[in-house]
C-alpha cells in the first residue's frame, strides 16, 4: 500500500491475508489469543514495577483525589497525617469498601 506501510509481522500478515479475501484477517485484527512467546522462568521482566493505575473503574477515582488531585472531593491528608489511610485498599475494585474513616 502506497501511503500506509505494514511494519511488524502481524500487520504484514493481516494485510496479506486480507488481500486474498481470507476472513481470518478479521479475527486477527480483533481477537487476543495465546500468551507470551517467551517462556523464561526467572526472567519475568515485562510487567516491570510501577505506580498506580488509571481512573477506571470508577473506584479508582478515589485515588486520584490525592495522587493527581483533579477530582474535586476531599480525602484525608495522606502526605503527613494519615499516610496509611488507604493501605487496606490494594485493589480499589475489590477493596474500596475497606477504606475507613479518619478521626483527626
Amino acid at each position: 500500500m502506497k501511503h500506509l506501510k505494514a511494519i511488524n509481522q502481524k500487520a504484514r500478515w493481516i494485510e496479506e491475508r486480507s488481500s486474498r479475501g481470507d476472513p481470518s484477517a478479521k479475527a486477527m485484527a480483533d481477537i487476543p489469543f495465546g500468551c507470551s512467546t517467551q517462556l523464561d522462568p526467572g526472567w519475568e521482566v515485562d510487567s516491570g514495577g510501577g505506580t498506580y493505575g488509571l481512573c477506571t473503574p470508577v473506584e479508582r477515582d478515589l485515588y486520584d483525589c490525592y495522587h493527581a488531585c483533579y477530582w474535586p472531593a476531599q480525602v484525608p491528608d495522606v502526605l503527613t497525617n494519615f499516610p496509611d489511610w488507604s493501605s487496606s485498599c490494594g485493589a480499589p475494585v475489590h477493596d474500596w469498601s475497606k477504606i475507613d474513616l479518619v478521626f483527626p
Binding site: Q9, S36, G42, R60
Partner: protein
C-alpha cells in the same frame, strides 16, 4: 456510516510517524496522506460524508485505500460494532512446551527479598496431612516428570525442561540423571529438547560447569551486580556476602561455555537503593563477561523495605531508556547489545503478540514440585490453592481451565482502556496473587510503568524499523515461535 477509532498509540521515531493498533497489535508507518486520513477519523467521522467531499481524482483512490487499510488492521470500526467475543480458552487439552522442575526448595543463601522464603511466600510448608514436604526432588519423580512432558506435548516438535529451586545445584544428582534420561526419551520421541537452569552460582564446580556446557544448558545466573549490590541482599545464612565466592565461578562458566552452549545470561533483581542499571549492566557485561542482562523489579507486597519506591521506578525507567538507546544504536550498526528486557519487548512488538493471557502458566508451561504436584508455574508450586493435579493422576483439566478463564484479558476491566494491553495482558499472576490475593487480578500498580516502558519500546522499535529493518526479522529468528503459530490455532 460513522467510523470511530479503536484503542491505539501514535508515536514518532526517526522522523517517521507510526501507529500501534491495540486490537491487532499491528504497527504501521504513516505518511502525510495516511496521517491526514487518520486525523479526519480520529474523533469519529461519517464515511459517506467524507467520500462526498473528495474528488474523483486518483489521489482519492489512494486515500480510500488508506481508509480500507485502517479498517483491515482493526483501527477503524463502524460505530457501535462490537468486536466478536474472544474464545475464553484455546482448544484443550493445550499441549505443553515447557516443564519447570523445582528440584529443591532449599537454598544455601538467605536473600532477604526472596519470595520463596520471605513473607511473600505462597507455598505451603506442610502437606494437607501436616507432614513436612520433601525438600529435594528424587530422580524417580524427575523421570516421571519427563515422561509426563513428552506425553503431554503432542504436536510440539520441541520441548524444554527447566530446573528451578531453591538453589538448583543443591540437587545436582537429580539434574544429571534427569538430563541423561530426558535425552534418551527425546531421541525415542523424535523431539528436540532444550535445558535451562537458574542458579546463584555459589555451587558451580568444574565438573558441573563441564556438564552444563556439554548438555547445552541455557544458564541464568541470579546476580545483582557488583560486590556492593550483590552483597546487600544476596548473602549466605551467616550474613556474609556472596560476590567473592561467585565471581571466579561465573568467569570459569562463561569461559568454558564460549562457542559451545547458548550464551550465559544474568538476571538482576532490582531493589531499593541499588546502583544504576547502566553501572550494573556494565559491570556484568564488561567485568564478568555475561552475554545478556535482564532486570526484574523485586516482587513484593507493599511496604517491604526492599520494595522499589515510585521515585526509584522513575529513575529506573531513565536507566532503562539509556540502555535502550545503546541497544538501538547497536542494532542499527548490526552489533550485539545484551540488554535483554528491550530485546524481549522488541521481539513481541515485532511479532505483534496480542495476548489473551499474560504468560504461559497453565497453558504451555507447568511447574512440578519436589513431590510431583503440578503447579501453574514454578512460582506457584506447592501452593495448594494453585495446584492443578499431580504426576500420578495428571492435569486437573477443570481447575486449569477455570484458572485460564479467570485470567483471560477480557476479565480484567482495568485493561480494556489500555493501549499496552496486547503485550502486558495484566502482568504476572504470581505478582497479582502476592499483591491482591487474586492471581487473575490485573497488576494495576504496574500500569504507569508498563505504559511508559511500552512507549519506550515502541520508539526504539520505530527507530530500528527506519534505521535497519532487517535487524527486526533476524531478532524474531533468534528465539521463540512466531506469534502466528498460535494465531493459526484460533482462526
Amino acid at each position: 456510516m460513522r467510523y470511530v477509532t479503536e484503542l491505539h498509540r501514535r508515536f514518532e521515531a526517526g522522523g517517521v510517524p507510526f501507529i500501534y493498533v491495540s486490537p491487532s497489535a499491528s504497527i504501521l508507518a504513516l505518511d502525510d496522506v495516511s496521517t491526514a486520513v487518520l486525523d479526519h477519523f480520529a474523533t469519529g467521522a461519517d464515511l459517506e460524508e467524507w467520500v462526498s467531499t473528495q474528488g474523483e481524482e486518483e489521489e482519492f483512490a489512494e486515500r480510500y485505500e488508506v481508509f480500507e487499510g485502517l479498517v483491515t488492521q482493526g483501527l477503524l470500526k463502524p460505530e457501535g460494532e462490537v468486536a466478536p467475543a474472544a474464545e475464553p480458552l484455546p482448544p484443550m487439552p493445550y499441549p505443553l512446551t515447557t516443564l519447570v522442575l523445582n528440584v529443591t526448595n532449599k537454598c544455601n543463601l538467605a536473600c532477604t527479598y526472596c519470595y520463596e522464603f520471605g513473607e511473600d511466600k505462597l507455598a505451603d510448608a506442610l502437606r494437607k496431612n501436616g507432614d513436612a514436604r520433601r525438600s529435594r526432588m528424587s530422580s524417580d519423580t524427575a523421570r516421571k516428570s519427563i515422561d509426563f512432558l513428552f506425553e503431554n506435548s503432542a504436536g510440539r516438535d520441541e520441548v524444554s525442561l527447566t530446573f528451578f529451586g531453591g538453589e538448583t545445584l543443591l540437587n545436582f544428582d537429580t539434574i544429571r540423571d534427569a538430563v541423561l534420561y530426558a535425552e534418551e526419551r527425546a531421541l525415542e520421541c523424535g523431539k528436540r529438547l532444550g535445558f535451562a537452569l537458574t542458579t546463584n552460582a555459589t555451587l558451580l564446580t568444574d565438573e558441573i560447569i563441564d556438564f552444563l556446557v556439554t548438555h547445552r544448558f541455557g544458564v541464568n545466573v541470579s546476580i545483582d551486580g557488583g560486590a556492593g549490590d550483590q552483597d546487600r541482599h544476596r548473602t549466605f545464612k551467616s550474613g556474609k556476602g556472596t560476590y567473592d565466592e561467585i565471581a571466579p565461578r561465573i568467569r570459569r562458566l562463561i569461559e568454558a561455555n564460549r562457542g559451545e552452549g547458548p550464551p550465559i545470561g544474568a538476571r538482576v533483581t532490582l531493589t531499593e537503593g541499588a546502583a544504576s542499571v547502566q553501572d550494573t549492566y556494565e559491570h556484568l557485561v564488561e567485568e564478568l563477561g555475561f552475554y545478556q542482562v535482564g532486570f526484574a523489579p523485586v516482587t513484593s507486597a507493599p511496604g517491604r523495605d526492599y520494595a522499589l519506591a515510585d521515585t526509584s521506578m522513575d529513575a529506573l525507567l531513565d536507566g532503562f531508556r539509556a540502555l535502550a538507546d545503546d541497544y538501538v544504536e547497536a542494532a542499527i550498526n548490526d552489533t550485539h547489545h545484551g540488554f535483554s528486557n528491550i530485546e524481549d519487548l522488541l521481539r513481541e512488538l515485532h511479532q505483534g503478540v496480542n495476548k489473551a493471557h499474560p504468560c504461559g502458566a497453565g497453558l504451555g508451561l507447568l511447574g512440578v514440585s519436589t513431590e510431583g504436584d503440578l503447579g501453574l508455574c514454578h512460582r506457584f508450586v506447592e501452593s495448594g490453592e494453585h495446584e492443578v493435579g499431580d504426576l500420578e493422576s495428571g492435569i486437573d483439566q477443570e481447575k486449569r481451565q477455570q484458572f485460564l478463564r479467570d485470567g483471560h484479558i477480557s476479565n480484567k476491566p482495568e485493561c480494556q482502556t489500555c493501549f499496552a494491553r496486547p503485550h502486558c495482558s495484566g502482568g504476572c499472576y504470581h505478582e497479582a496473587q502476592v499483591r491482591y490475593g487474586d492471581a487473575s487480578h490485573a497488576n494495576v500498580h504496574h500500569c504507569d510503568w508498563v505504559r511508559a516502558w511500552t512507549d519506550l519500546g515502541l520508539e526504539a522499535y520505530g527507530r530500528i524499523a527506519v534505521g535497519n529493518p532487517k535487524f527486526l526479522d533476524r531478532l524474531d529468528g533468534k528465539q521463540g515461535a512466531p506469534a502466528g503459530a498460535a494465531m493459526e490455532v484460533e482462526v
